[in-house]
Symmetry: C2
């Protein structure tokens, strides 16, 4: 496979078209390379030994191990001392019960606002298509917002809607609430399914959330449906695990 060519880590700043593209740390590029490699393996299969992998990828074992550590922390790999690193099986799912959501948080006198990071209307790739239950390539509305509480970034939220809604961004900007805006567009949510899991911050996420790359995050995915069971929204929210704790109350 040959050694990788890494992007320069030096002071060269490649000013790219959209946004502040900083060069990613080497261990992260190694991680991406590993992910690509793992994608072509079956669960249970082993990776080459670390010392060999390191030279193969043109990096030190220390750096390689940092990448491996994150993949292990994410549940992509599992490693056994004396044996090797193996591709991990997919996650288990523990089904819980009812949960009702509210978009707000500003109960106790907290300053809450959102910053719109990105807003576009891309065509759905395979992954997004299945989550929204639409055809691949169909246009979708995407809205990336940074949730801020007390001037502290708390969550990075990407909402995807199956139907392009012109003027959505402006409406959300003024009202602040996506759900209130959807309501005024005549879209009514009546069914919700969401999941909670841990994730580790990518360099980009880390920059926005102001946490170090690799910090554990709480990833909350939400799928909302209308009365007819059609998916009207799919949202992935990455909450800072070091700043957030979710509490649920209920009566049996």
């Amino acid at each position: 496979m040959g050694t990788l060519r890494f992007m320069s880590t030096s002071s060269v700043r490649t000013a790219s078209a959209s946004g502040d593209r900083a060069p990613q740390p080497r261990y992260f590029q190694v991680k991406l390379a590993l992910e690509k490699r793992i994608a072509e393996l079956e669960p249970g299969m082993s990776l080459p030994p670390e010392r060999k992998l390191a030279t193969e990828l043109g990096t030190s074992r220390t750096t390689l191990r940092r990448a491996l550590a994150e993949l292990t922390a994410e549940g992509v790999l599992s490693s056994t001392q004396g044996s090797g690193n193996y591709v991990a099986p997919p996650k288990l799912v523990h089904v819980r019960q009812l949960t009702s959501f509210s978009d707000d948080l500003g109960a106790a006198g907290l300053t809450v606002h959102s910053e719109i990071i990105d807003a576009d209307q891309p065509s759905a790739d395979a992954d997004l298509a299945t989550h929204l239950d639409i055809d691949k390539g169909a246009p979708v509305e995407r809205l990336v917002r940074l949730r801020i509480v007390n001037d502290e970034p708390l969550a990075l939220e990407t909402a995807c809607l199956p139907i392009p809604l012109d003027g959505l961004v402006d409406a959300v900007t003024t009202s602040g609430s996506l759900y209130a805006t959807l309501h005024r567009f005549g879209i009514e949510i009546c069914d919700v399914e969401d999941s909670v899991q841990t994730a580790l911050a990518t360099p980009d996420q880390g920059r926005h959330l102001k946490v170090a790359t690799g910090t554990p995050l709480l990833l909350i995915e939400r799928t909302s449906r209308d009365a007819d069971g059609r998916i009207v929204e799919w949202t992935r929210s990455f909450y800072r695990g070091d700043r957030v704790r979710f509490v649920a109350r209920g009566t049996l």
Copy 2:
């Protein structure tokens, strides 16, 4: 303050009274030392620079930084490049809605069972006393169980009950379910409050859950009350973040 004396990392095995006590890695001892030190500081206060701290604690900067990284990942510290490491403010709390729990999981043909790690009746320390809303020093029932699915350890669960219940352990051992057992003891749960947050595996937790020290975990704390509002149970469950994903469904 002087340098610390570390436990030997060599092959000396100190066979202690209860259980398999392995010597803890050095970076973890450093972490504990830091925690003790941080406990005497106020949020916002800074730690000495890393290079100085390292020599002060008698370790290398690399090892120190691994300890610092975990504390930062846990939200205990926050660090700023070029400035320093600071004691972080306490976590925010996001209040959600209703959640109904079930103790079971064995829906889809999964092998589910528990292994009792520890069971005793200690007297409550300050922390435990406040969580159970009882007097400090009062006797409590404590039950530590390892939850296993498909021969894979999934969660480490510590349940605490405000009233010592003799024979509880045997009853739970046979029935497998804590809630079913409580029911037969005449204890009825009708109100639940729980929280979800991330945590990092300690060496002990890692050993039981078979994950590396520092792996992100989902920490779910649950407080159960009876009809009169009395707390009947306080449980901390550490789920393997790399193996579990919680899903909740609900209708608005």
